[in-house]
């Protein structure tokens, strides 16, 4: 079991009239005594997911009514009109149809659907609107991890990976691309950005730019995942959105603009040296380190220790996992672009020690 950050005690008051249905469905989801559902779509935590959720409950309730009606009629018909095996061998009346009934069950569903269509179309256009005063973030999908680059006034140029920090109660406008190795390399594949508690999916398509809006109402860590099959480690392409109070967010983004401090000595200093010698620096940027700003093949590691997880948000950021990862990345995450550098145990220890200093 993993430890998780406690969520705000006060849940959003934005619960529709369908909350009873949410309770019933959540009950089913909670079966098996698992209490943590980090990607549950039925507990939206922001206005975008709320809009999507509300429509679902409308159609869900109608579907349940139709379901009960049809299944009830089927069961009733089969039992009521079954051949009881008695002596009555009479042939039932040969009814070939009933025009009035047939017109009725053509028109009534059409009217119900037309009624659902109105709020559906309205919501499609509402969701596509560009929000004002939004935080601007460029999202880059790669095989198999996410890179986030802040492009607005706040934290311009800050680059991070797999954990996207946002302020609460403010829309975040994502401009999304899929790339290969370098930020100019168009050989990416399709990914899909999905944080169930904040918003539905948006595919990220190479050769195109896609946009979407997310917003969180409560501070917390919202888990997400790539939702479009993108290759061997599609299952290992996870991430999280960290929503913070505005002050906390501003402090965080300020910290991201600081360069990394060089370790003063010991094992970490040896690790820093290896980071260059073994060409880690060719792919991973560490701001403030000579020659390390432009490398964007792998995640920016300047503030690596601030991340809870790594390797596509699948491994807890601790020395044991780092050691296993550096020794054989492909074993942990098949198809990863991180090569196996055949590092000695001593080198791995030194690199881990260095990575642990990147606060």
């Amino acid at each position: 079991m993993r430890a998780r950050r406690p969520r705000g005690a006060a849940r959003s008051a934005r619960r529709g009239v369908w909350s009873w249905a949410a309770i019933a469905l959540s009950g089913l989801l909670l079966a098996g005594c698992q209490t943590d559902h980090p990607q549950n779509t039925l507990t939206p935590q922001g206005p975008v997911a709320d809009l999507q959720q509300n429509l679902w409950y409308v159609v869900f309730v109608i579907a349940v009514v139709v379901f009960i009606l049809v299944q009830g009629l089927i069961l009733y018909a089969v039992f009521r009109f079954r051949d009881r095996g008695d002596d009555d061998q009479s042939i039932p009346k040969q009814v070939a149809g009933n025009t009035r009934l047939e017109i009725m069950w053509t028109i009534i569903p059409a009217i119900i659907l037309a009624a659902i269509a109105v709020p559906t179309v309205k919501t499609i256009f509402d969701l596509a609107a560009v929000p004002s005063d939004a935080l601007q973030v460029r999202v880059i999908g790669k095989q198999y991890w996410w890179e986030f680059e802040y492009t607005g006034e706040e934290g311009q140029g800050v680059v991070t990976a797999n954990e996207l920090h946002i302020p609460v109660d403010r829309p975040v406008y994502l401009t999304m691309e899929s790339l290969g190795q370098q930020p100019t390399d168009p050989t990416g594949v399709i990914h899909s950005f999905w944080v169930p508690k904040l918003a539905g999916k948006q595919d990220v398509v190479p050769g195109h730019q896609r946009t979407m809006t997310i917003e969180a109402s409560e501070p917390g860590k919202y888990e997400g995942t790539c939702a479009e099959f993108c290759g061997l480690s599609h299952a290992n392409m996870r991430f999280a959105v960290v929503a913070e109070e505005t002050a906390d967010f501003e402090a965080w983004i300020q910290s991201q603009t600081e360069p990394a401090a060089s370790p003063t000595g010991g094992l970490a200093a040896r690790g820093e040296q290896l980071f260059t010698e073994r060409t880690c620096i060719a792919c991973h940027a560490i701001t403030g380190y000579e020659g390390g700003d432009e490398a964007r093949v792998g995640p920016d590691l300047t503030h690596f220790q601030q991340r809870e997880k790594f390797a596509g948000y699948i491994l807890e950021n601790n020395p044991e996992n780092l050691t296993a990862w550096l020794k054989n990345p492909q074993a942990v995450k098949p198809g990863s672009q991180m090569p196996n550098l055949q590092l000695s145990d001593a080198d791995v220890d030194a690199l881990v020690a260095y990575l642990r200093t990147l606060e």
Binding site: I74, Q94, E102, P206
Partner: protein, 661 residues
């Protein structure tokens, strides 16, 4: 390629005409639609078992978090092949099996319009299956999903296998070969579907018994007719896309490569423009089957025949205008999403008409609770669930949450399994006595049904919940602590219950083969003309082509004046394109009869032929040529092309029926 086959100069062919009437050669050279139907069913059922085993492996892998039974690579091949196998090599050909066997019998014809083309369809389908599965020996099976999105199908799952240069080469070669097996395998399968769709359409239009107007066609024949048109128009679309993909991966074109000005979204449009009609190609045959089964066992005519016919047509027509609902998250923009959301909603209307008309058929009947009836009612009940979850997909904003999750997996299994497979089993139990002369055991059949119904719902019902709980599709593993462990384990148990139900069915087949109850011509007191001939039918189907004067012709022959209400009188007469005095076989204008028709000298049947199987055999050989490189490539392409051409030439130069028996 200049190929000059040593073609026969006379109408005597290169081979002596096959004459075997029993044994393996009689099956290889047969042009009898009934034998071809049986071959289709057996082959497709074999692939159904293969796809089922793949499904069980997938379910075992997902039964607990962080399972290591399967590697990511093995898992991706398995889920891809599960989809491809079930769609192209199990459900479509199972539908074709029913079309082949029943269509001529239902319309009172002696065979399909083009018997050798029919045999060709079967052998091409089989060679496509062999070809695509041969990849398992040649670098692996396709691994990009059945939808195989660009540009992953160009780039591959492992773009920089970085250990050593040799490994990069191997990984790239494997990726290319997997995509070659995908694109060529499906192109070959598409040829089989195209050929049979033309055959069925021509047969229905031209070979109906005298008096069988279009609105007197058995409803299953209508389903065949509509499905054939869907295949005729859908297969070329995917054919073009597959052709382009083949050139992209093998010969360096850039149709779908965004790095060179191509567009991966183009692949999605073409794939789903085929892919959505394909869904109806898979479900409409089952709709046709259940529309035959329910009336027979309720002892009432199909409720609202005309509405059922027009709803089939409406579903098929609307099915062309909804493809982008598979792409709501792709970013087509609000206008396209709204339009395709609306069209998707309204396809629910004709589908609802079908469900309510099936209810109307049951209502007021005297329902015999036999195995086929149970499977038929099972289809209505389970498909309703799939239809309702389908309507929830059309709510575009909510679809942004559900698409590419297990909710969608649940949805289409309720349609494809709860719909198609339940319907195909209803048809299997219903027509088995016609095909073999023996009844499948009803008690084992009911055990099969209940196990399957329970296993199906235990497997796929919880997938709705997992999807709502954020579990994406196509993941080979998931972390502990996501809240998904319990239902995944339950689903795996359900999958094994389904497997048990299939084992019961196979046992039923084996037992029936040895000591099944003899069926007689008409064991179910049925309504349509295929039950007028013997079980199994003679290879010329009917001694005398029946004159049709009503929908449910056989029922009217049996019950005129005997029912509580006299049957509706339909003016007797011929369909406009028929001379009522002419038998269906005369339409073929075949001057001679084949061998072995002693006692029926006036019945002219087409003769068996080697050429369909020869032409079909050339296709995978040419396909392996595309896979291979260098001189082997040229040699295999030449050999495959030679076989195809010589098969086609021999076929054309050979009379359809031999003049001397």
């Amino acid at each position: 390629m200049a190929v000059t086959a040593q073609e026969p100069v006379t109408r005597r062919s290169a081979f002596r005409r096959p004459t075997a009437e029993t044994g393996i050669w009689s099956w290889i050279t047969t042009v009898d639609h009934k034998r071809i139907g049986i071959l289709y069913w057996l082959t497709a059922f074999f692939f159904f078992l293969v796809g089922g085993i793949e499904a069980l492996l997938i379910r075992v892998q997902l039964s607990r978090p962080e399972n290591t039974l399967l590697s990511a690579d093995a898992y991706n091949q398995l889920f891809t092949m599960h989809g491809l196998t079930m769609i192209f090599f199990a459900l479509m050909p199972l539908g074709a099996a029913f079309f082949n066997y029943l269509l001529p019998l239902q319309i009172g014809a002696r065979d399909v319009a083009f018997p050798r083309l029919n045999a060709f369809s079967y052998w091409v389908f089989l060679s496509a299956g062999i070809f695509i599965y041969s990849g398992v020996l040649l670098g692996g099976l396709p691994d990009g999903g059945w939808f195989n999105y660009a540009p992953l199908n160009l780039i591959g799952p492992d773009p920089t296998a970085t250990e050593a240069a040799g490994q990069i080469a191997v990984a790239e070669a494997n990726h290319i070969s997997r995509m070659v097996f995908y694109s060529i395998g499906l192109q070959i399968a598409g040829i089989a579907s195209l050929a049979s769709s033309v055959n069925f359409i021509v047969t229905i239009l031209n070979m109906r018994a005298p008096g069988m107007t279009l609105m007197r066609l058995p409803i299953f024949t209508w389903a065949t007719f509509v499905t054939s048109f869907l295949m005729l128009f859908a297969m070329p679309v995917i054919g073009v896309a597959l052709w382009q993909l083949m050139f992209d991966v093998r010969f360096g074109t850039n149709f779908f490569n965004p790095a060179a000005g191509g567009d991966p979204v183009l692949w999605q449009h073409m794939f789903w423009l085929f892919g959505h009609p394909e869904v109806y190609i898979l479900i409409l045959p089952a709709f046709g089957i259940v529309s035959e089964v329910l009336p027979v066992f309720a002892r009432k005519p199909l409720f609202g025949y005309s509405a059922m016919v027009f709803s089939l047509i409406a579903i098929a027509f609307l099915g062309w205008g909804v493809w982008a609902h598979h792409m709501f998250a792709a970013g087509l923009g609000p206008v396209a999403n709204a339009a395709f959301g609306l069209s998707t909603m309204f396809i629910a209307v004709p589908t609802g008409v079908k469900i309510f008309n099936w209810l109307g058929t049951l209502w007021g009947g005297r329902i015999r609770l036999t195995t086929p009836l149970l499977f038929g009612v099972g289809l209505v009940a389970m498909f309703t669930i799939g239809g309702l979850s389908g309507v929830t997909h059309s709510i575009v904003p909510s679809n942004y949450q559900q698409t590419d999750t297990y909710y969608v997996v649940a949805h289409f299994h309720y349609v494809m399994f709860g719909g198609s497979i339940f319907g195909l089993f209803a048809g299997t139990y219903y027509w088995f006595p016609k095909v073999t002369g023996r009844l499948l055991d009803d008690r084992l059949g009911k055990l099969h049904f209940w196990l399957m119904l329970i296993g199906f719902n235990v497997t796929f019902g919880p997938m709705h919940l997992l999807g709502m709980d954020g579990m994406p599709r196509r993941i080979y593993t998931y972390a502990d602590g996501m809240g998904w462990n319990f239902w995944n384990l339950i689903e795996t148990i359900g999958a094994f219950i389904i497997a048990a139900s299939i084992a019961v069915f196979i046992a039923n087949l084996a037992i029936t083969r040895r000591r099944g109850e003899p069926a007689g011509d008409d064991p179910w007191d049925a309504r349509t003309v295929e039950w007028m001939t013997t079980s199994p039918p003679p290879h010329y189907n009917f001694e005398e082509v029946p004159q049709i004067s009503a929908r449910d012709e056989l029922w009217h022959r049996k019950y005129v004046g005997g029912a509580t209400r006299p049957p509706v009188r339909v003016p007797a007469g011929a369909s406009p394109d028929h001379d009522p005095g002419e038998s269906a076989v005369d339409d073929q204008a075949q001057p001679a009869h084949g061998p072995g028709h002693t006692g029926h000298a006036d019945i002219h049947m087409p003769s068996p032929s080697y050429y369909p199987v020869i032409a079909a055999a050339g296709m995978p050989i040419a396909g392996w040529g595309v896979y291979a490189g260098g001189p082997v490539q040229v040699a295999l392409l030449a050999l495959g092309g030679l076989l195809i051409l010589s098969g086609l030439f021999g076929w054309v130069l050979e009379p359809s029926a031999e003049e001397h028996a």
